[in-house]
Symmetry: C2
Subunit: 397 residues, 2 copies
């Protein structure tokens, strides 16, 4: 398998490491910004690079519906489509599909669902989810799982976990048979037409003009590392024994890394933490561990110190769009009138380009005036705060 | 008066020059992007700097209503409020107020109007408009005028022109009495509290930390050049004789520069051009000439070659938000399905950061998906195209 994970240091239960992907290295523990529709809402890719983002998350469900997997595949995969030369992880689409509670029907085969965009019918099962993720070509892709609802009774939690395990096996089988079909893989000729005068392709199918503009970057397109990595997902609801069993049987199937799914679904925060702690005990130390959909700055720091290597969450980007900003002095709502005359920076301890340049008064004004720049700047700051939080944790390990 | 205007070269009727303002030099002929609410919608200030924007336009009407003139003045003026160290021009608010056709009442004194935001009543006359613009502290401010509607009969056009002349006199008088009150002026102590540890002020009331980040920039805060410049506006409808009279009598009052107003109000394009050409004949060669609210890329190039030095228009920014993009191969609507698989750059001849990095397929996708990044990138490209158009014109003179 092509993903390399090296642990450089450990302190307590936390560890610092490095994920080597076909699109560059990722220092862990890492927070992955969410780029649902092939964009982190409002933030240009060069700003993400400047912020130090080394890996982004894309949502298979959204890209499946628009612009469609085949379209992205023909254009060379998600990296090239969105002009993002660094690493990408895609989810399986399962979580989003299950969230469409009135629009979907689950069977052993998979999930029939209706598009939230136009009501059209679609089907995703393990094979379709892996096929889609191979077409998108993320560096790390996820097995198709069922996210067990909360609360769930013991029978329901077990049945759901068992189905996730069967789906994990099918995901792994489909992946092994088709992993050579990734759009940037060595076995796949580029299907993309390009203009000789403006863009030329290197062997990884990526634009050389982009590479040359990223001089000094640590991206290397390794010729020998040309397939994706597949992660399994641990389910089992809020039951420690089921979580242990799910972990053991998922590991038996064998994946490049392991995710803890089915949390942050409405349960109390202390229960989330208990389940994470107990599940971690059953995961192999040498593989990356990914906690899905968590959390606040305090939570991502706490989980990193428990030994989680990867996290993602819409919180920093979604909160930014609602004017909720994370600072070293706590969370603030920039819409409040008390900031109207406040000439200080958003966070005096933050070195981001927003805090260096703009006052709270200005950020309050553009938010109150419903200006798009508010969303742009707020998102840049919140992402910077999250990334700095993880940088600080890494430095402390 | 403090604005210096030097003409470096001329070719045909066109001329190339340099406006020296208290906030830096502006190469002319220049296109001024519109930053209505203290932001060019969707574009961070550092990107505007990178694009080479040397002067921005702010709208007094919008800033008057929100966040309010006194708020901006207390925060050091518009430059400091929006963290824009380069030149700014504000309009008088007249044009916007007259556009509120159902919400305003015009008298000799000025205009009573209702806010489009909350229906509250406000009054703007020449004195209030100049007072507001001194509070905002733009480098170039505009006399309060009445924009004559189109079509207008001869009596109405003359009456409107006469009122604009009386208002021009009142604007000039108020300005002369109060021009020392500009927030960054030498006679005005800074009313802004600031944090010693993060921001310190130079004598121009601007943050030193911003200045240091702009090292290499051509901005200089001249100690001796500390008042604003006031421009008069020529009206007279579509009547050549009235335009001539308006020009002569406005020049008699005496301004730092002269604007041609009352065009692009619904008249045919060839009539606009005729009026511009004939009005230009009556304007002094040694003063900057500003054509308000014009136009397409072809038009701004054409007017520059007729001897116009300054132009502004919402077209590039507004069109961008509707997916209409100007390219060296003509205007395109990026929403069209034919771009869904088009991997070429938006404009193969454009060196902007959008054309260097993103494909038409990607720009089409984010526009179709209603992503904020579409507005951001489209606006950056269109502004780049407009600025490059003017750069090309300057180089050709």
């Amino acid at each position: 398998m092509t993903l390399q994970f090296e642990i450089a240091a450990a302190k307590g239960r936390g560890r610092r490491g490095c994920l080597k992907t076909p699109h560059g290295s990722v220092e862990t523990p890492v927070f992955m910004p969410v780029g649902t529709q092939a964009t982190v809402k409002g933030v240009p890719q060069d700003v993400l690079e400047e912020l130090g983002v080394e890996i982004l998350l894309g949502n298979t469900y959204h890209l499946f519906l628009r612009p469609g997997i085949e379209q992205v595949r023909k254009l060379g995969g998600l990296h090239r489509f969105m002009s993002w030369p660094r690493a990408i992880l895609t989810d399986s689409g399962g979580f989003q599909v299950f969230s469409l509670s009135d629009l979907r029907k689950v069977t052993e085969e998979g999930v029939m669902f209706r598009s939230h965009l136009d009501g059209s019918s679609h089907f995703l099962g393990p094979e379709q989810a892996i096929e889609a993720q191979i077409g998108l070509g993320a560096d790390i892709i996820m097995a198709f799982d069922e996210c067990t609802e909360y609360p769930a009774d013991p029978l329901r939690a077990r049945a759901s976990m068992e189905m996730t395990l069967r789906w994990a096996g099918r995901s792994r089988r489909y992946f092994e048979e088709h992993k050579g079909e990734v759009p940037w893989g060595s076995r796949q000729p580029s299907a993309v037409s390009h203009q000789e005068n403006t863009r030329s392709l290197d062997s990884a199918g990526f634009s050389l003009s982009l590479k040359s503009r990223s001089a000094g970057d640590d991206i290397s397109f390794k010729k020998e590392a040309k397939t994706q990595a597949l992660f399994g997902i641990i389910q089992g609801g809020m039951d420690h024994a089921l979580r242990k069993e799910s972990a053991e049987r998922t590991i038996e199937i064998g994946f490049d890394g392991y995710a803890i799914g089915g949390l942050s679904v409405g349960e109390p925060r202390n229960l989330t933490r208990e389940i994470v702690e107990s599940t971690l005990e059953h995961l192999p130390k040498e593989k990356p561990r990914y906690l899905m959909g968590v959390g606040t700055p305090e939570e991502i720091e706490g989980y990193a110190r428990l030994g989680i290597d990867m996290m993602d969450c819409v919180l920093p980007t979604r909160a930014a769009r609602h004017g909720l900003l994370y600072t070293s002095e706590g969370k603030i709502s920039i819409k409040q009138a008390r900031f109207a005359g406040d000439e200080g920076p958003l966070d005096p301890n933050c070195p981001c380009r927003v805090c260096r340049r703009y006052s709270r008064a200005y950020l309050r004004h553009i938010y109150a005036a419903n200006e798009v720049l508010a969303q742009v700047l707020n998102t840049i700051h919140n992402l910077s705060f999250y990334l700095d939080t993880m940088r600080r944790v890494r430095h402390s390990i």
